[in-house]
Symmetry: C2
Subunit: 258 residues, 2 copies
């Protein structure tokens, strides 16, 4: 189901079929990039009760280190049904932020793998991990709701969630975007003129990058409009972005000189 409300989106300057992450990959990347969320549990009289938690992903399931004294732990002991909401905090407009709700059953776990996954993400927890009233819980994800901002939302299949990998470019994305906007305005203009419908573009900024390609915001007579450009092949790391963008720039310039 698509929310057609919210700030209107200008029509993109590129086609919809440019390679892009699917919702499973976007959701997995978002959750992988955060360390805290809202854990929903059930009170003993059946109210939904969200509380603030730290988490880490162990394979595709969130793992928590909780105190037996905490309300959410007492709730889970009564009923294992639970959900974790994980939200980005990047956009000025709150509803433009992506978020994911993972629904399932949450149970104690004593596996070494779950413990190690949590401590790798939260080294500060080494201080209390062995206190006897703390223990690990794991949420076995059954349903996944992804909302990527206005007009981008769906239920993701559990199998797709489990198989998706977080985008390896995500951790380096901000650095790449900042670098391109600061030092390579000319390249951005060339991409826009060669690969989008804005063949006379003069002002272009980069707004995002992922393993499949990157996003531009092109200033047109009718205001900024988005465009997406695919890499020749998906990247395996942020380090590969430079050569992929140089290759596209050569092609763009060759095409513009024809």
């Amino acid at each position: 189901m698509t929310n057609t409300h919210g700030p209107s989106k200008e029509a993109p300057l590129t086609d919809d079929d440019v390679a892009a992450p699917n919702h499973a990959e976007r959701a997995r990347t978002l959750v992988d990039g955060e360390r805290t969320g809202a854990l929903g549990t059930l009170t003993d009289d059946g109210f939904p009760y969200p509380s603030y938690v730290t988490f880490a992903l162990h394979e595709a399931n969130p793992v928590f280190l909780v105190s037996t004294m905490a309300s959410h732990t007492q709730n889970l002991q009564g009923d294992g049904r639970a959900s974790l909401l994980v939200s980005e905090d990047v956009a000025d407009d709150p509803l433009a932020n992506g978020r994911v709700t993972l629904v399932g059953r949450c149970q104690p776990t004593t596996t070494t793998a779950a413990r190690e996954a949590f401590l790798a993400r939260h080294p500060e927890a080494g201080y209390y991990v062995d206190f006897k009233d703390f223990g690990f819980y794991e949420l076995t994800v059954e349903r996944i709701r992804y909302i990527g901002g206005y007009g981008r939302m769906s239920w993701v299949e559990a199998d797709d969630w489990r198989l998706a990998s977080p985008d390896p470019v995500a951790a380096g994305a901000k650095g790449i975007v900042d670098h391109m906007n600061e030092d390579h305005a000319d390249a951005l203009v060339a991409y826009a003129r060669a690969f989008t419908r804005a063949t006379a573009a003069e002002e272009v900024t980069m707004s995002g990058v992922d393993r499949h390609g990157f996003e531009l915001s092109v200033i047109t007579d009718r205001g900024p409009r988005p465009a997406r450009i695919a890499f020749d092949a998906p990247l395996e790391s942020a380090g590969e972005a430079r050569s992929a963008m140089v290759a596209l720039l050569k092609r763009a310039r060759a095409q513009l000189e024809e």
Copy 2:
């Protein structure tokens, strides 16, 4: 119930009875300072389902503007039991952040006051407030869980929650703290020497301020230790902080010269 785990807290350099906000006031101030939260609702098969929402307080109840297409709205139509988690995002250590969970029943509201409270906090929502598939819901708060970080937590009585006012100094607090740390290190040392057990303090930073007083972090031989100093009377605005701190400084200096 007190969580005695988490990073150990050095013993304060002042007594526990220095005037300070109670938990109802701290919770109300925290919620008043945020615009987004995690709304917990119940799925049709009884799972707790937290989702990301914008909210505003109308009197002491959160108000939401939601789409009938959204999962949380469909959940609320099935069962009105709900909770809102509101979290700060100020501390580097996630579990040192304050957070509040408001538990109650959430129902549609068509009052003008609720609408106005929401739009005053979210003017951007004027764009879609009158779309026919959007409507307001209000959560009537019955139970309040406050966690102010490590070792500061309680259930707040609903009457206390309703009667509490948000701290009028909160919006100006960061500016006051930054100003004191940047320009008045000598005053901070004088407060610490005169009003705390660190009578030979040499390095002092301010870490917080509220209507009742302010908090210092004093470097001692055993590391940083907290101290709290009360104003002579509670402030009614951040603008009153300057004269209150000057009055305390005069008293501190007079006392140190004795």
